[in-house]
Amino acid sequence: MSGTAALGTHPETAATHRTDGAAKTGVPVGDAAESGIGPTHSGWTAAVRVARLVVLAHPALEGRMVKPLSIVVVEKDRERAMMIVDGLQEAGDFDIVVIAEEAGLARRIAQRNPDLVLIDAGNPSRDALEDLTLASTPMERPVAMFVDQSDAALTRAAIEAGVSAYVVDGLRSERIKPILDAAIARFHMVQKMRVELAETRRALEERKVIDRAKGILMRARGIGEDEAYGLLRKAAMDQGKKLADIAQALVMATDLLK
């Protein structure tokens, strides 16, 4: 990836050229402590990725340097945080920090003063971000982006995917759209994995219960495995219930009789 050269390096040392010829340089890097999220958070701390990417000097901006948008991703789960960060990096050059700690979330974010915050809409700590909307000056004040957004379809997609984004008031929507598109795609992916994982777990649980129920029947009635399974299935069909539910009821009843 083009940006990795500048990761964690000092601005002056990062000046290179891209194949497209645009000049780039490193982002002014904060102090080293930025890369962690505080001493209380061992393990995760080292894993927090501060992606310091490159800046493109956009010709349209009369040679002025444009800082890459700084993004805070609030996510406790390391794997998911990585997926989101990777997705964002594919979408462009951003300055990304992950915050995993929920205690004092508003303060942690305010200290970083990012252009944009991404948070799972399913995270109850999202409400703590509302404190940021009470910041004193309008330009520091983040707004939940959906409502201001002229792009209703994008807004809807973000909400459906469970992405909440807070942006600094006045940030142009064309700068936000690629970020949100990437975040939405990743959130969908994360969501799908969550559902699949839950389904796998449930299937495993159900199989265990059915095996136990079969065992109970086999012992109690002196029958073989196939016959025990047949009995369970017949009971399920007769009562219009799921096989796993019948098995569960049998296991529970047997436990009570012990």
Binding site: E102, A103, G104, A106, A121, G122, N123, P124, S125, R126, D127, A128, L129, E130, D131, L132, T133, L134, P142, V143, A144, F146, V147, D148, T155, R156, I159, E160, S164, Y166
Partner: protein, 393 residues
């Protein structure tokens, strides 16, 4: 007859009960509705869901739609309150360490006298007092600010009222992130059971008749869909009336306790519904009959003066011009739509849509255009009144 499907949003709290039970007990079906209830983990997400039309109506913190009307908060969407879902329902708790200091100073935790509790709290807190509330625009925040400001004592140098999600409240208190909280039930009782703190006061000790949650819709929806709005309001109102009968408390607790609704033990929910509260892990019980009210005293009527009070408080704290703020706030509480849609359900309808907030110490008969109206006590702890005709007094 097939039922009309209506998506509705809520945050899992005891005061979501009128919405949950409107569906569960068939009040919605009686009105030809099937409510699809969607829980939200946070108020900001619920606000988004409502703004984007994922739900057509939602349980909402009473000050939240008022804040939106005043241009406060991370949203520019506009909402209105069709009715009040419940009056009161919050508790104020303190950490074990702070509770011990308050007790040492001689306070008895009577769970009643907010003035005395405040006089004991502030010296015990010393220089630093960090209080968790669920949202910056909430009755919790308003009650805490009104209470602290009205005590007539110097406030701690480091007073920090910050947002903590209700399910994290007990944890934050136990971890020493906060010293106190104001939160809706069942989360205060959950904190007690977790051994994280003791309950100092019910919210009703600060304002005896505080509109806590409202049924909110996007601005204009109820007028664009009058038939639907009316059906929904009547179903929710009947659920509130059912909840208001003391004999139903334990059934209601069981219905609310299940996974997919509140997912906390029925016994914990029942404390709020019966007003018999455990205030400490030692098992001290306090009686607080008005801890939460779903029906009595025309609890569901959205008084313009309640909205005006919220607007005046928000304007003062956020440096807005008071008169336009109060006017914008009043427009949010749609007492006109309440009259329109609940007349046929037999709801008590007061003659006026404003009252002098804080003036009633006892249940008081009041003029009504329908029903026999007895207004419930609505005193503030400091005995001040808020007159909507002289809001700046």
């Amino acid at each position: 007859m097939s039922l009309l499907s209506l998506p509705l949003g809520y945050v899992p709290l005891v005061d979501a009960a009128p919405l949950i039970l409107a569906e569960a007990l068939g009040f919605a079906a009686e009105e030809g509705l099937e409510l699809h209830l969607r829980p939200s983990p946070s108020w900001a997400s619920l606000r988004d869901m409502l703004a984007a039309g994922q739900v057509v109506a939602a349980q909402m913190l009473a000050p939240l739609p008022v804040a939106s009307a005043l241009g406060l908060g991370g949203s520019t969407a506009q909402f209105e309150a069709l009715m009040v879902l419940n009056v009161n329902g919050d508790t104020i708790g303190v950490s074990q360490a702070l509770a011990a200091r308050i007790r040492a100073a001689g306070h008895r935790f009577d769970f009643r006298d907010a003035g005395a509790a405040g006089q004991a709290l502030l010296p015990a807190a010393g220089d630093q007092l960090r209080i968790g509330v669920p949202f910056p625009f909430s009755m919790h925040m308003e009650l805490i600010r009104y209470w602290l400001d009205g005590l007539g004592l110097p406030l701690p140098a480091m007073l920090d009222i910050r947002t903590v999600p209700p399910p994290r409240m007990a944890e934050a208190l136990a971890a020493g992130e906060i010293d106190a909280f104001c939160v809706g039930e069942p989360w205060g009782s959950v904190a007690v059971d977790a051994g994280a703190g003791s309950l100092l006061l019910p919210g009703s000790a600060i304002w005896a008749f505080a509109p806590e949650k409202v049924l909110a819709t996007r601005r204009g929806w109820a007028e664009a869909e009058p038939a639907l709005a009316g059906r929904l309001m009547r179903a929710v109102w009947r659920a509130g009336r059912w909840l208001g009968q003391a004999a139903n408390a334990s059934v209601a607790s069981e219905l609310l306790a299940v996974p997919g609704r509140l997912a906390v033990p029925a016994e914990v929910i029942e404390r709020a519904l019966t007003g018999r509260v455990l205030i400490s892990a030692r098992g001290e019980e306090r009686r607080s009959p008005g801890l939460i009210t779903f029906h009595a005293g025309a609890a569901n009527f959205p008084w313009r003066s309640q909205a005006a009070w919220i607007g005046a408080r928000l304007a003062r704290r956020h440096g807005l011009a008071p008169e336009p703020a109060i006017a914008a706030a009043r427009a949010v509480f749609r007492s006109d739509l309440y009259r329109l849609h609940l007349a046929q359900a037999g709801a008590e309808l007061p003659s006026a849509s404003d009252k002098v907030e804080g003036s009633l110490a006892d249940p008081t008969p009041a003029p009504s255009v329908q029903g026999r109206l007895i207004l419930a006590p609505d005193r503030f702890f400091d005995a001040r009144v808020f007159d909507p005709d002289e809001p700046m007094r």
